[in-house]
């Protein structure tokens, strides 16, 4: 799993992580969301991953929650004293992997269109 493993009393994953007390622990690396922010929202009553996502953008970046989803679910489970399997995992949305928009166009020009730096390796078809 991911390396963004928080440490501290009751933290998911036990005490083998590398963070010391007072360190900033990043949960969502795409959107820079910290463990403190997640815990603060849960304490204020936002105990679903859908709400936490919408307030913080956690899980909305290019990796679509591959790293943070499990970590947030574990935090919700711990704070609400539930089994993690009973915490709703949130909606998964397409595409599974980021795809280049131009690649979805029939007869589209390749990645040589001037503008953004695209690596052009994500042709849909």
């Amino acid at each position: 799993m991911a390396c963004a493993k928080p440490e501290g009393e009751g933290a998911p994953g036990g005490s083998e992580g590398g963070a010391a007390a007072g360190d900033v622990v990043v949960i969502c690396r795409c959107e820079d969301v910290t463990l403190d922010e997640i815990r603060d929202l849960i304490a204020r009553g936002y105990t679903t991953i859908e709400e936490i996502k919408r307030i913080t953008r956690c899980g909305m970046g290019p990796c679509q929650g591959r790293t943070c989803r499990q970590l947030v679910l574990a935090e919700i489970a711990r704070a609400t004293a539930k089994d993690i399997a009973s915490v709703a995992p949130g909606r998964f949305r397409p595409p599974t992997k980021p795809v280049r928009l131009g690649g979805a166009v029939a007869g589209a020009p390749g990645p040589d269109v001037e503008g953004f730096e695209g690596d052009g390796d994500e042709q849909v078809r």
Partner: protein, 383 residues
């Protein structure tokens, strides 16, 4: 264990409209306000919308409502005391005309907007390209631009309104579903929820695409349907697109959020009525085709997510606001894809109507009765 309670007003629907109504009623000290939402706040149309706020419309009423909402968005961070920003960015809206018919409508719209003090103007294709350098103007006939249009964060606006309402004493019940509404002697008496009953004499139907189902609970049929619209969002990049770019004939809109991602949506004229919120492959292909013609460099961005939401459509694409033949039952629905941008002013107007104040904008023409009277207010400029 069911818990029964009583309230002075129950608002059904925890989207941005319901949250705004709750806040404005609480601010007026209307008494005990309860907002009921079947899932989490902004879980429906609000959280799925394109987030745009525009004042460029074809009818006076839509112009006035949107103009006042923009003033309210401008003050919102100060007024609501939310601990995050509502991210209101006024980068303008650039509307593109590709047909003579569209161009003639735009000329009329700009004349109307300017007469109401909305700072919109008619632009040549070259002037449009000066605002959006990546714009392909090869078949653009003209454009209109209003620099004070923009967009905001729909989640944050909803949570900000709900949070402010709570601080004023309102109760927000999420994950609570309305099962029925009891009417006694033609008056609203009680809302039946899965978590118990709420005795009340005032109910506001702000259930978005589900408003037709809620209205039926008091025996009202409203001419109304739900229609799926789809959106996608790209990876974030450096800020390069200031305004929302929109075309009615191509049925598309595209904006770059303060976060850097591009959000774009497209209407499908063949979309059936219904409650489906599934994403489709066809949308991705259609959207990609249209947007790469209008803004070619966007084709190099990667799509990270796509989703769908529901428009709550009325026959004239205007909302239905105000009282109904059932005493105590009020409507704030039928926004036809523009509920987010009209939510601030809607909340205030509904609160004014419910508190027996004179509404600050005359909305008598937006009542439910207009459909029976045949007095539709048709909006020509809709995606």
């Amino acid at each position: 264990m069911a818990m029964n309670k009583c309230a002075d007003a129950v608002i059904i629907g925890g989207g941005v409209v319901g949250a705004s109504v709750a806040y404005h009623l609480a601010k007026r000290g209307f008494g005990r306000i309860v907002l009921v939402e079947r899932s989490y706040l902004a879980s429906g149309s609000t959280g799925r919308c394109g987030a745009g706020v525009r004042q460029q419309w074809g009818t006076k009423l839509n112009c006035l409502l949107a103009q006042e909402s923009v003033r309210m968005f401008e003050r919102m961070d100060d007024e609501l005391g939310f601990d995050r920003s509502i991210e209101f960015k006024q980068g303008g809206y650039l509307l593109l005309a590709y047909t003579d018919r569209e161009m003639n409508q735009f000329i009329k719209n700009v004349e109307l907007e300017q007469s109401l003090g909305i700072p919109a103007s008619l632009l040549t294709p070259a002037e449009a390209k000066a605002i959006v350098p990546m714009l392909n103007i090869s078949d653009v006939l003209c454009a209109t631009y209003c620099p004070t249009d923009g967009h905001a964060n729909p989640f944050h606006v909803t949570y900000a309104y709900a949070g402010a309402a709570r601080r004023l004493g309102a109760e927000v019940m999420t994950f609570t579903e309305v099962k029925g509404i009891v009417v006694e002697n033609g008056k609203v008496a009680r809302v039946v929820c899965d978590k118990g009953n709420i005795d009340t004499r005032v109910v506001v139907n702000a259930a978005g695409p589900y408003s037709g189902l809620v209205a039926r609970m008091v025996g009202l049929e409203i001419p109304f349907w739900a229609e799926r619209h789809q959106i996608l969002v790209t990876e974030p990049v450096e800020p390069v697109l200031r305004p929302m770019v929109m075309s009615f004939s191509r049925r598309i809109y595209c904006q770059q959020t303060p976060h850097g991602s591009f959000i774009m949506g497209m209407g499908d004229p063949n979309e059936p009525h219904g409650f489906s919120t599934e994403s489709s492959w066809k949308f991705l292909v259609d959207m990609a085709r249209e947007i790469t013609r209008v803004l070619p460099p966007v084709g190099n961005l990667k799509v990270v997510r796509q989703w769908a939401g529901l428009y709550d459509m009325t026959p004239d694409a205007h909302p239905i606001l105000g009282a109904t033949p059932v005493e105590g039952f009020y409507l704030a629905c039928g926004f036809s894809g523009h509920g987010f941008m009209l939510a601030p002013v809607t909340g205030r107007l509904l609160a004014e109507v419910i508190c027996d104040e004179k509404p600050s904008i005359d909305i008598t023409g937006l009542d439910l009765g207009r459909f029976e009277r045949g007095e539709l207010v048709v909006e020509p400029s809709v995606v």
